[in-house]
Point group: C2
Chain length 277, copies 2
């Protein structure tokens, strides 16, 4: 089911700047029992990124109403919200006025996701690099060719995610996930000042850690740091947390107390979300 | 007028990966007297880039027929061809099979372009940088947020183009043009190994220079080189060549023999294209 500007519609205009230039943003949100989880955080990031791209911000109340209506009667699904700069003349110059396009769609939930949460996953390093650009870093924008090229590097169902490095050999994230590692009881994740997506699940995990007096350290690290870690896990809003069993030839211990504590914490937060009205 | 997969249609599917991820390529071509200029070069770049992105290449003969049909009876216009990876499930992984979407549109020609060819133009430097990534460099792909942010930096009709630097302070190109400069009778332009679009007009100009035993030198240069140049010009397939009068506070001489020789050469090439059947 797809809703364009509030009406059920499979089509958008070919002249939409989302199609012409990737001129827009998106959010993907897990829906459980009709409820989009952590919606407030997602809308807040969307609005912040609209400001950065100078796209008029959607009205949060109206967008929430649209989203709630679409999610009603949905047991378990993935909600996707796309906001673009709308239609325009040919050329990069912004239309005036800008009338954003809003696309809300509901997709099946990938049920394997919870299986991998218990079993753990296997990762590889991608050849395709993330480019450095502070003007785009952190946002979940529609320019995703780097991730597409990286994800096209393997077609082996036993490999569940690819790790992307930036142009300076720093480990940043997975093609569709953020990445954390634990060394000597300290949790680390990449700084996202020059590339990467500042994921909502990453933010939630960092809040859980901070509440637990074990704040994650955002720093620059490379393959070597990652391969000598005690625990590694990846996350996003759809899969939650996936513990990592292997990265290429390196095996991680199945003893992963911090990852498991976070998974329990996340479960608690989700239950709270579902109780809350 | 817009044609989607050969049929007149203003809409594309919202699930098209061009819209979801900017997963595609484009070409913009000047049409004169029903003839798309330098079509062979444009299609050849498009096909090369499809190979790089692993999008099945369009059949050049069929695409040519579609294009010729759309351009018929058009006096002067801009033709735009978009090829995307087509529809897919949610997620970066490529659909199998990939059935590309082909969008051909005709837009009005910006008639001011020829005026600026005689009068010259004024440029500024943009704050927004081009990020470095050899896997995307050179291609005219649909991930254009950097250009959009750069073009949004000014709204002054007296400034005709903005110059973009990369993350390492190298001058690369304009938001919608390639850039050349002349110093002591040698013509220089940026290497495009890490960023930038390898424009067809840039290629044509380099061929003209080579035929004239004055091959352009592709090298790394910065603002200082550019500001002390004897001549500067910008180019693309729609505007042809625009001589540069000023960059911010720096004025260039209206004596620009090499730029003018190239403009004459280009005029000759266009006339040949128009005679040729």
């Amino acid at each position: 089911m797809i809703f364009v500007n509030g009406e059920e519609n499979e089509n958008i205009k070919a002249s939409d700047r989302g199609f012409q230039y990737g001129d827009g943003l998106f959010e993907t949100i897990e829906v459980q029992d009709g409820k989009p989880l952590f919606l407030g955080q997602h809308l807040s990031r969307l609005i912040k990124s609209c400001k950065r791209l100078k796209i008029p911000e959607p009205d949060a109340d109206e967008l929430t109403r649209n989203v709630i209506r679409v999610c009603k009667n949905t047991a378990h699904a993935v909600l996707k919200i796309i906001i673009t700069r709308g239609m325009g003349q040919r050329g990069y110059f912004q239309p005036n006025p800008i009338i954003p396009t809003q696309v809300i769609s509901i997709n099946p939930y990938p049920e394997f996701a919870s299986e991998f949460s218990s079993l753990g996953v296997n990762l590889r390093f991608c050849e395709t690099r993330l480019s450095l650009n502070p003007s785009l870093a952190g946002m979940k924008h529609l320019n995703r060719l780097e991730q597409i090229l990286a994800r096209a590097e393997w077609d082996d169902a036993a490999i569940h995610e690819g790790i992307m490095l930036d142009m300076q050999d720093r480990v940043i994230e997975g093609t569709m996930t953020n990445l954390f590692y634990v060394k000597n009881n300290i949790v680390y994740t990449a700084k996202l000042s020059y590339s990467g997506v500042a994921g909502i699940m990453r933010e939630i995990i960092m809040e859980l850690l901070a509440e637990n007096n074990q704040p994650a350290i955002e720093h620059d690290f490379d393959k070597t740091n990652l391969l000598s870690a005690d625990e590694v896990f990846i996350c996003n809003s759809i899969i939650g947390i996936w513990p990592v069993n292997t990265i290429e030839n390196v095996f991680y211990s199945s003893q992963r107390p911090i990852t498991e504590r976070l998974m329990t914490g996340l479960k608690g937060l989700k239950e709270k979300e579902l109780q809350h009205d």
